[in-house]
């Protein structure tokens, strides 16, 4: 029997009293890669932020469980320490905070949570090396401020670097392909594929089938109007690419 990692049950979410998610149900097992596609405004990014615990969104009803534990009572940091990672569509710039210092503190917070020894700056420098290689990132980016002055592609690589360093159980990639050129997209996809493992799951939010040829999903969901309309295998993404969303909205 497969191990259920994430279970979302009839989730309703609003922002400023405007309903966004309207009864979303989803189950993701460990080891699986799920993709969510859907037209603009369907609630895809809202779902990713709600899972990470963004305070602007109000869960009006429904439940979310990670490994059987309710996420809804947890703060964003507790969710992160429990194994949730969100790669942001628009990674935030934090001037003055060094990327290396930030990443080391984040890794140490996680290690401390797991009862492991923390890394000092010298240990961290060698520890992070293979992760930098994985995302093909110049070590100089560690000396810069977090995402400050990074190009769109560099920001996305930095997100994947953090994912590799924090080793989450559930990685949510919110439009990781936006703003990436072909080479960067390939690098990011390769890094994600390398990080696939039987005890880790991915939830990939994207507009385009292009990403899903490089990161082949187990299940593709189509989302519209705050709910999952239909699900299928990778061929569903190809079908959407070919026909658009309208036929689905009409038939389902």
């Amino acid at each position: 029997m497969k191990n259920t990692l994430l279970h979302i049950n009839d989730l309703h979410v609003a922002i400023d009293n405007t309903p966004i998610l309207k009864g979303l149900t989803l189950r993701i097992n460990a080891g699986e890669v799920h993709a969510i596609m859907g037209p603009n405004g369907s609630g895809k990014s809202t779902l990713s932020k709600v899972l990470a615990g963004h305070p602007a969104y109000t869960v009006t009803s429904g439940e979310i469980f990670l490994n059987g534990e309710s996420l809804l009572n947890m703060d964003p940091d507790e969710r992160a320490l429990s194994g949730i990672f969100l790669a942001f569509q628009y990674p935030v710039e934090i001037p003055g905070v060094s990327n290396a210092g930030f990443l080391r503190m984040a890794v140490n917070a996680k290690r401390k949570h797991k009862g492991e020894d923390e890394l000092d700056p010298i240990e961290f420098e060698s520890w992070i090396k293979d992760k930098l290689t994985l995302v093909d990132m110049n070590p100089e980016f560690l000396d810069r401020y977090v995402n400050h002055g990074f190009s769109g592609g560099e920001k996305k690589r930095n997100e994947i670097l953090q994912m590799a360093a924090l080793s989450p159980q559930l990685a949510i990639l919110d439009e990781i392909d936006s703003g990436l050129d072909i080479d960067a997209l390939r690098d990011v996809a390769r890094a994600v594929n390398t990080l696939r493992s039987p005890d880790r799951a991915f939830l990939i939010i994207t507009h385009y089938q292009r990403l899903l040829t490089d990161i082949v999903p187990d299940i593709v969901h189509i989302m519209a109007n705050g709910r999952l309309l239909t699900s299928g295998d990778k061929s569903l993404a190809l079908e959407v690419e070919e026909k658009g969303y309208d036929w689905l909205l009409e038939t389902v």
Binding site: D77, R79, L81, L86, I94, Y145, V146
Partner: protein
């Protein structure tokens, strides 16, 4: 709350709130008024004719100005030279031709009195110049009355010099005037550090830059009853660059201001200003930044940025970045932000496993560090960051 006017009335309203050294404050205000800081109704575009202020009250000789100064600069310096004091002169080797220090007391004569022929008691030369990388630390401690110090730095061609001004005002008010003459290719870095300034303190820098020179000014002020950094720089050479990085941390009814007047008189030069503040309680900060680009100063590249973290409902950050551009092929940008902590960086950090308090600490420390990273000495950066973090946590 944003107020765009700055004048004696605004200053008075700030100064009157302070409890420290009321008598000195009144005297300080009277001096400003005497010297023609404009009133609200007659405000000039450049906010305050501070050069006129200091031409009246200070005098010195400048040896190497002619290499780079314009006629306008020369007029200013010649006026200074007509009132020659006998300064205490420190001869420095190599590129620092001369460092001249003197003190003028308002109690003796004239609008602000005559200069003292001997180095003032409040000034201490903490470290000597070095042969290859001249650096000078000057500690100013204003203990009583209203003291003035004048520092003249001539940086010759190829010079690479650092000047550190450490300011303390236990109960006296003070003013440090720095005249800088940067010959072609000279680099000068100035660190200004003011902590626990219990009385009004003002630092005025008047600089003239030649070709391919660099002037970096970094200012860190924490807990200032009343502080103003006034930086005027005439960039008279191509390929020259000037940066200002300033951070003010204020609380209670404290006040800190940065006033700049950067003149790009010739093309292909750059200037950037990053002026930051964190405010608590009923504190006030002010940024009046003027950038002037002359008619022929094509390819000028100038930025002004004034981010303020206003962490109480009653604190006020006043911002007035200004551009006066007469050339048509330039890149100039300016902007200011006021507000509480942005929730998005806090959420970003929280999503990486940091508690809410840790997120706030990281963002505030980063806000300070962006400026403190520009200080000349890593050990200094570290110790000031520790001070800033302690302030921000409190």
């Amino acid at each position: 709350m944003i107020i765009t006017q700055t004048d004696t009335e605004t200053w008075f309203s700030q100064i009157e709130k302070h409890d420290h050294g009321a008598t000195e404050l009144s005297r300080f205000i009277a001096q400003l008024q005497t010297l023609g800081i404009p009133r609200k109704e007659q405000e000039m575009w450049r906010y305050a004719p501070l050069p006129a202020l200091f031409e009246k009250i200070t005098a010195s000789r400048l040896g190497h100005v002619k290499e780079v100064a314009t006629a306008e600069d020369m007029a200013m310096f010649q006026e200074i030279e007509t009132n020659v004091f006998v300064p205490a002169t420190v001869l420095a080797p190599s590129s620092f031709q001369r460092l001249t220090l003197f003190s003028a007391s308002p109690k003796k004569e004239g609008p602000l009195g005559a200069a003292s022929p001997t180095p003032p008691s409040g000034i201490q030369r903490a470290a000597p110049f070095e042969e290859n990388h001249p650096s000078m630390k000057l500690n100013f401690n204003f203990i009583e009355g209203w003291q003035q110090h004048h520092v003249v730095v001539n940086a010759e061609a190829g010079a690479n010099a650092t000047l550190q001004l450490n300011l303390a005002a236990t109960s006296g008010a003070g003013h440090v005037l720095v005249h800088l003459n940067l010959a072609h290719t000279a680099k000068v870095h100035i660190d200004i550090i003011g902590q626990a300034l219990n009385a009004p303190v003002m630092v005025t820098i008047r600089a003239v830059q030649g070709n391919n020179g660099h002037l970096n000014v970094v200012s860190y002020v924490q807990d200032s009853a009343w502080f103003m950094l006034d930086l005027g720089n005439a960039i008279n050479g191509t390929g020259s660059n000037m940066t200002l990085n300033a951070l003010s941390l204020v609380r209670q009814n404290q006040y800190a201001a940065v006033v700049t007047n950067i003149r790009h008189t010739i093309g292909e030069s750059t200037s950037s200003q990053l002026v930051k503040a964190v405010l608590y309680d009923t504190a006030t900060t002010e940024y009046n930044g003027a950038v002037y680009v002359a008619h022929d100063a094509q390819k000028t590249d100038s930025t002004q940025s004034n981010p303020n973290l206003v962490l109480s409902d009653t604190a006020r950050a006043l911002s007035r970045p200004q551009l006066r551009i007469y050339a048509d092929d330039v890149k100039c940008a300016h902007g200011a932000t006021m507000g509480q902590l942005d929730p998005e960086p806090l959420f970003y950090l929280a999503s990486r496993g940091f508690s809410h308090q840790e997120c706030i600490s990281i963002v505030l420390a980063g806000f300070a560090e962006e400026v403190l990273d520009q200080m000349s000495d890593p050990a200094l950066q570290k110790s000031l960051l520790a001070d800033a973090i302690q302030f921000l946590r409190a």
